[in-house]
């Protein structure tokens, strides 16, 4: 899931302004692969453990003295404004924990802050990322 021009972004009630992009990656943490006796090809595959990783890139225009810290937990809200063809906007919501906070100070660009989070599921059988119409 990728949002290139997100609207408002808030984590644990704190607004994260000038957000350039929000990326939500899903990948297998553990994969089951099984073969059978009667041939070389895989006959069963399943993914019993999934990691939902969220990467948020913000442009930083001034000193950043109170960034989030790894292990901080909260509700992440991302509002996507309505496009020309949509009837309304969408809100992406999930509970997440901060995994890392990094800065990029390449001289030719505005400074950026990249925050990586890992989504938490209240129900382990359900996708932790909820998309709502607003």
């Amino acid at each position: 899931m990728l949002m290139l021009t997100p609207g408002r972004v808030r984590f644990d009630g704190v607004p994260w302004t000038h957000t350039r992009s929000v990326r939500i990656d899903r990948a297998a943490e553990r994969t089951i692969i099984e073969h059978a006796d009667t041939g070389p090809h895989i006959t069963f595959v399943d993914v019993p453990a999934v990691r939902v990783a969220i990467t948020i890139v913000q442009e930083i225009e001034s000193d950043d003295l109170a960034p989030p810290a790894p292990a901080d937990e909260g509700i992440l809200l991302v509002e996507a404004p309505p496009s020309g063809s949509d009837l309304g906007g969408r809100r992406v919501r999930c509970r997440a924990v901060v995994a890392s906070v990094r800065y990029d100070l390449a001289s030719a660009k505005p400074a950026t802050r990249t925050i990586e989070l890992i989504a938490l599921a209240t129900d382990p059988a359900a996708d932790p990322v909820i998309i709502e119409l607003i």
């Binding site: 089951i32 099984e34 073969h35 006796d37 009667t38 069963f44 399943d46 993914v47 019993p48 453990a49």
Partner: protein, 124 residues
């Protein structure tokens, strides 16, 4: 074709493979028998052990328990000997289901599954 034991399809819900354990003489070191010197004594042929190793698979948790319970219910005392047939149709007669061990916790991905090893033995 699917494997069976006693005519029952116990393992067919998921992939499984047959492994034949060591065959040959039971060897006992001399010092264990109180005999002098290095070396060993042959005590006779070991009993045939065949392991079925695979994964039970179900769409539901309760369905997976049904599959596990069905196998455990066949581990009886006294043992029941019957014909074991593998996925290619190879047969072994007089095999008793003597053990069932799960290799880890059940997994819940797209489906419910658990890895296992079932042990069969042909008693002498």
């Amino acid at each position: 074709m699917t494997s069976t034991w006693r005519g029952l399809n116990l393992f067919g819900s998921g992939p499984h493979r047959f492994r034949i354990a060591r065959q040959g003489q039971s060897l006992v070191p001399n010092f264990v028998l109180g005999l002098p010197g290095a070396g060993s004594q042959a005590q006779g042929l070991v009993e045939l052990d065949i392991f079925v190793e695979g994964r039970l698979v179900s769409a539901t948790s309760s369905g997976l328990w049904t599959l596990r319970d069905a196998i455990v219910a066949e581990v009886t005392d006294p043992v029941t000997a019957a014909t074991l047939i593998d996925n290619a149709g190879r047969e072994w007669t007089n095999m008793a289901l003597v053990g069932f061990a799960e290799s880890g916790p059940a997994d819940r991905g797209r489906l419910w599954s658990v890895a296992y090893a079932a042990q069969f033995r042909r008693f002498a």
